[in-house]
Amino acid sequence: MPFIPHTEQDVAEMLASIGAASIDDLFDEIPAELRCAGLPGVPAGLTEMAVTRLMHGRAAQDGHWSNFTGAGAYEHHIPAAIWQIVTRGEFYSAYTPYQAEASQGTLQLLYEYQSMMAGLTAMEVSNASLYDGASALGEAILMAVRANKAGVKRVLLPASVHPRYRAVARTVVGNQGIELIELPYCMERGHTLPEALEAHAAEPAAALVVPQPNFFGVLEPVDALTDWAHAHGMLAIGVVNPVSLALLKPPGQWGKRGADICVGDGQPLGIPLSSGGPYFGFMTTRQALVRQMPGRIVGRTVDMDGRPGFTLTLQAREQHIRRSKATSNICTNQGLLVTAATLYLALMGPQGLKEVALASHARTRALVDRLTAIAGVTRVFSGAYFHEAALRLPADADEVLRALRAQGILGGHPLARDYAELADGILVCATETKTDDDLTDYAQKLSRILSRRREAPPCAYKS
């Protein structure tokens, strides 16, 4: 009986104490006609040894790949210390720190996390995390609408924001009558043009979303965009990659007044790619907006003896207190992932994080140089980029990526799925994990695939 410690004698004694003849009797309040006879749709149980063998087989089937895809999830080195500590039972099997005195470890860690994220984004306060970057953007939009005193339910959302983030934001805010206005990007430079915003200057909006870098890896003119938002009575919501902030100007310093809310995905901070999750979303903001912020928040206080300690605070915003008046229905956050990110930021420090950002950017530049040296491969946009770039291929992007995959390389993310105008475009990314040999390997294979196609286009061997 996996994980059930009871002996037959235990069961007999317990039933006697209850005054029940059998375990079946304990379910006698459930109408008999509803009870199910068994679970034929579930397979029989396996031993740990058998499940281990099965899972190892499946993992081996998925194999190892040389990955050059980013697009919102980035392959960085994860220090060994992180997950050994994160999976200590005291972190792994604890719950939300409602009993503060019995949860000082988690609470202090969250306070340190909030401090690190506020510092990294140059904002005043942080929550203890949200589900992921995309849902954090949805929550930021709801927050901006709540904070809008005129009740304006419109938010400007550039098309250069990650398409999946926009999709999730639509899911999150769609039932509350909030209108998301898509802003076009400059086809030549690859970012939002401040002059393109003027078409929306007349209609009030609660916020402008500003991604940095944007989905294409291109840097947005964040100062001008933030100032434009403020000049038109809107909040500025920054969407950022946390690793980039060791190098790029943090949202709190954008424009004259800084962004008002900053969100993003914490995955690059020590979280494995894991087919998409679990990751975590972060959110930082100004002190003045803290009561509009969703999610758990930890505060430092003192105990009865005046010693410092930590506790969940501002719970009057939350569902378990405010019920239908809560800022969000969110309860848990992504505690274990935040634990990993806190260890990551502590291990890297300001210098280490900057080196990761610089190395990732340098590798991507080198990759772009090598790939664009191949005939017909060009950059899609002329704007400056960080650590990720859009390239145009002289052939069908899906076919080329398939051919690369057959040689063990995940060559990037095809753009046509989300941007019809960027057919033949792919988004490539190299991080500090890639060596010179890895880049050469990719360039050589791509070059061979493209030259073979020139010599024998697909239609030639189809016939």
């Binding site: 994980f3 235990d10 069961v11 004694e13 317990m14 209850i18 309040e29 109408p31 009870r35 579930v42 397979p43 149980g45 499940v51 899972m55 087989g57 993992a59 081996a60 998925d62 220090p79 500590i85 005291e90 099997s93 604890a94 719950y95 939300t96 009993q99 503060a100 005195e101 019995a102 202090q108 306070y111 909030q114 401090s115 005043e124 589900y131 639509r170 899911t171 509350q176 902030l245 190098l247 894991s274 087919s275 998409g276 999750g277 679990p278 803290v290 505060g299 206080t301 105990d303 300690g309 378990h320 019920r323 505690g335 634990t339 420090g349 300001p350 280490g352 610089l358 190395a359 530049r365």
Partner: protein, 496 residues
């Protein structure tokens, strides 16, 4: 020679920032020097470096290991936190979900590169469908509350698709988790609360009076948060369905009925499950969870994406193109895959027999603990009822006699090495402790807990000040929550 003062076993710790020394670092983690980013416009670069701590690798390992030791956890203590299902998290689930190939796979990599992981996810979908009796399952939601959101959004999408736009109200019993009303609001609905009767069941007359052409649906937890099974569930379903509303099953207490009765057989249209409860994935100090949703036939088109589909032995994700009526995406990628893999391992270890044993032994432990506590002089909120997997003790009489509150009582239990039960929830029972032992605890542990409860009760009666000032043996004593909220200190600031 002065007196030697041994350090207390768990000293109050400095912040990691207080340990920072300019120029110190974890050298092994440096990726090496890289060329300057001279291609980036200067006005977009950061000026001062971020205020992160400068510490060594040993500093980090020691600091966070010691922080971990300040936590109560399932691995170290009995954790009878009602409504949270704090059962043992098998280590195999963690070890097998963290195999290197599984961790390294990029979320946007093609299905061809993920047949192993997708097979697990597909099987999990199928198993969850089987244990809940629903027509379809989506693994997309990343937590229980997000599952609730997806569920209510599907109810709304269903009514809208039928042109039935007048339905604007979600009915929620007063015993419900706070997430239920909060979710209804996030989905653009109004909330109508209905009362509970003296036996702890939904008040049917109040329900009949509440439903009508404005009713979008009812959200129900069963067994309820009062720890009892809604005996009139068949009537409840009929009343809501006859009014044209849909019924939502909050899976918070699914552990109580796993393998005994299925929400689908009870007539529910949509459910969410908390895999971090029923399927034993870790709570992780507050996440990550996973909140898959299951639906009846008529809600199938609206399930959140992605879904895992199987075609002639090949697994892939069904997305926008396959599912045009979906309520949409809940996360940037495929949800909390690593959590789902842990749930898959757990489900395969248990199998069909093991899943039935979950409810059996959860109910045995809860009813035994309730019987023993009652025998020891504690008042149960619903003494005439069977406990489901949890039950409520009310300390109202003790408080009236001694001034010791449920909160004081809970804090004193910490001194005896037990995590406190859930306090002050559900809101309608005064001075309540909601106690959920789970199926993985042994009788000896339950007996020790009863002994501690009895001891604290004696202390409350003879020495109330001791209990009111508890805890006494933890790293900190009772914390000043009022000050925490009034004098907000949410981030560390470098000394000027």
């Amino acid at each position: 020679m002065g007196h030697f003062h041994p350090p207390s076993p768990i000293p109050n710790l400095m912040l990691i920032f207080d340990q920072s020394r300019s120029g110190r670092r974890a050298h092994a983690q440096s990726p090496g020097a890289a060329p300057a980013a001279d291609d980036l416009p200067a006005e977009l670069l950061r000026g001062l470096p971020p205020p992160l701590p400068e510490v060594s690798e040993l500093d980090v390992v020691r600091h966070y290991t010691r922080l971990s030791q300040q936590n109560f956890s399932i691995d170290t203590q009995f954790y009878p936190l009602g409504s949270c299902t704090m059962k043992y998290n098998p280590r195999a689930c963690n070890a097998l979900a963290m195999l290197p190939q599984l961790l390294a796979r990029h979320p946007l990599a093609d299905a061809e590169t993920g047949q192993g992981v997708l097979a697990c996810l597909f099987e999990l979908q199928e198993m969850l469908q089987a244990v809940t009796g629903m027509a379809g399952v989506s693994l997309a939601p990343m937590a229980g509350a997000q599952g609730e959101f997806a569920g209510v959004a599907m109810i709304r999408a269903y009514h809208v698709a039928r042109g039935d736009a007048a339905r604007r109200e979600i009915i929620v019993p007063d015993a419900a988790h706070g997430t239920n009303p909060a979710t209804a609001i996030m989905c653009g609905y109004q909330v109508r609360e209905i009362p509970t009767d003296r036996q702890g069941d939904v008040d049917l007359d109040a329900l009949r009076a509440a439903v009508g052409p404005h009713t979008a649906g009812l959200m129900l937890t069963n067994p309820s948060t009062l720890g009892v099974f809604e005996q009139t569930i068949v009537d409840i379903q009929r009343i809501v369905h006859d009014a044209g509303g849909l019924t939502y099953y909050d899976g918070a207490n699914l552990n109580a009925i796993l393998g005994r009765v299925r929400p689908g057989d009870m007539g529910f249209d949509v459910i969410h499950m908390n895999l971090h409860k029923t399927f034993s994935t870790p709570h992780g100090g507050g996440g990550p969870g996973a909140g898959p949703v299951g639906v009846s036939e008529r809600l199938l088109p609206f399930l959140p994406i992605p879904l895992v589909v199987e075609e002639r032995g090949f697994y892939r994700l069904a997305e926008e193109a396959d599912r045009p009526q979906s309520i949409g995406r809940m996360s940037a990628f495929g949800g909390n895959v690593g959590v789902l893999l842990r749930a898959w391992v757990y489900a395969r270890l248990l199998g069909r027999e093991g899943m039935q044993r979950v409810a059996d032994y959860a109910a045995l432990n809860a009813n035994y603990l309730a019987a023993e506590l009652r025998r020891a002089g504690f008042d149960l909120a619903f003494p005439e009822r069977r406990a489901s997997h949890e039950f409520i003790v009310t300390l109202k009489k003790l408080k009236d006699a001694t001034g010791v509150t449920a909160m004081d009582f809970a804090k004193r239990l910490l001194d005896y090495g037990f995590h406190a039960p859930t306090t002050y929830f559900p809101l309608l029972v005064p001075e309540c402790l909601l106690i959920e032992p789970t199926e993985t605890e042994a009788k000896a542990t339950l007996d020790a807990f009863v002994a501690a409860m009895v001891k604290v009760k004696q202390e409350a009666e003879t020495e109330p000040a001791l209990v009111k000032a508890a805890p006494h043996s933890l790293p900190v004593r009772r914390l000043d929550d009022v000050r925490a909220a009034r004098e907000l200190d949410l981030v560390w600031k470098a000394p000027k």
